[in-house]
């Protein structure tokens, strides 16, 4: 049956709640990568991430009856995972408990320093794995409040409104953090991708037609 081939998340939730518990495996298969990426991005430690991943799905299953469908299942699940990940951070780094970034909340204080253009097609100049590793280090270098917004919006491609709702932030605070996060990731990547000084000079001369 066509409808049974790929039931949507709400339909799966409904079936689980009436006793077809094995349908949960389909939800896991569909969303485990998203949850993994976000939790790994927050924690930066694969062993802890795996534990949080399992706890998040267990928690979601236990509380599935409380899922009312106002949000998408995916964003509801991501919210659970973020809470589990934050608990883990507090456990290991209690000093960071309240550090969710009151510092320089306003992007106006931020000044980009790296203003040399990049070489064309950086993704073709570096092995895909290397770029991914570099990006992961750039994400880890962000303060947690910026990191969470960047992960939801730019890695998971949620809308700014969905990211705001998931993190319990206002839309304007989300956008402010997003701007700052993007600028900082760009700054981190720049030394790896920027043109050598003579390339920059040549391209400027070319632009001027000299």
């Amino acid at each position: 049956m066509q409808a049974d081939a790929s039931p949507d998340d709400m339909e799966l939730v409904r079936r689980i709640l009436v006793g077809e518990k094995e349908c949960f495996a389909l939800l896991v298969e569909r969303h485990e990568r998203s949850v993994f990426r976000i939790v790994q991005g927050i924690l930066g430690n694969t062993a802890d991430t795996e534990e949080v991943l399992q706890e998040s799905f267990l928690n979601a299953f236990t509380h599935l009856g409380g899922f009312r469908g106002e949000a998408q299942f995916r964003t509801w699940l991501i919210r659970i995972a973020i809470n589990e990940a934050r608990k883990k951070v507090r456990k290991y780094k209690p000093q960071l408990h309240d550090s969710i970034d009151e510092t320089e909340e306003d992007g106006r204080n931020y000044r980009p320093r790296e203003l040399r253009d990049w070489q064309p097609n950086p993704e073709q100049r570096m092995a895909s794995k290397e770029v991914a590793g570099l990006m992961e280090r750039a994400i880890q270098a962000l303060l947690r409040g910026y990191r969470e917004v960047f992960l939801l919006r730019d890695v998971e491609q949620l809308s700014s409104q969905q990211a705001a709702d998931t993190l319990g932030l206002s839309l304007s605070a989300t956008k402010t953090r997003l701007l700052r996060a993007r600028l900082m990731v760009r700054e981190y990547l720049s030394p790896h991708f920027r043109q050598r000084w003579h390339q920059g000079l040549l391209s400027r001369l070319k632009q001027r037609g000299e």
Binding site: A25, L58, G107, P112, L115, D117, S128, K175, L189
Partner: protein
């Protein structure tokens, strides 16, 4: 005309196409004549393309299997 500071503040919204048509035009006029802002816009756009295109934070082999094993007690 808008200045570099305004371009910086609107950079994210501009890249998300979340600005008015008028502001979009003003930003594009500015970056046409401002080398630093052009670099800033181009390299931030490239950053977003890289993060969306690369296999960032991929789930390692074995994690899915162990997850399903742990959860399978729920429906057995």
């Amino acid at each position: 005309m808008i200045d570099c500071e305004q371009v910086l503040q609107e950079l994210s919204n501009y890249l998300d196409s979340d600005v008015t048509e008028q502001l979009r035009q003003q930003i594009e006029e500015h970056i046409h004549s401002c080398g630093n802002c052009k670099v800033l816009v181009d390299t931030t756009r490239e950053t977003l393309q890289l993060v969306a295109g690369e296999k960032v934070l991929e789930i390692p082999h074995g994690v899915s299997t162990r997850l399903l094993e742990r959860l399978s007690v729920l429906w057995k």
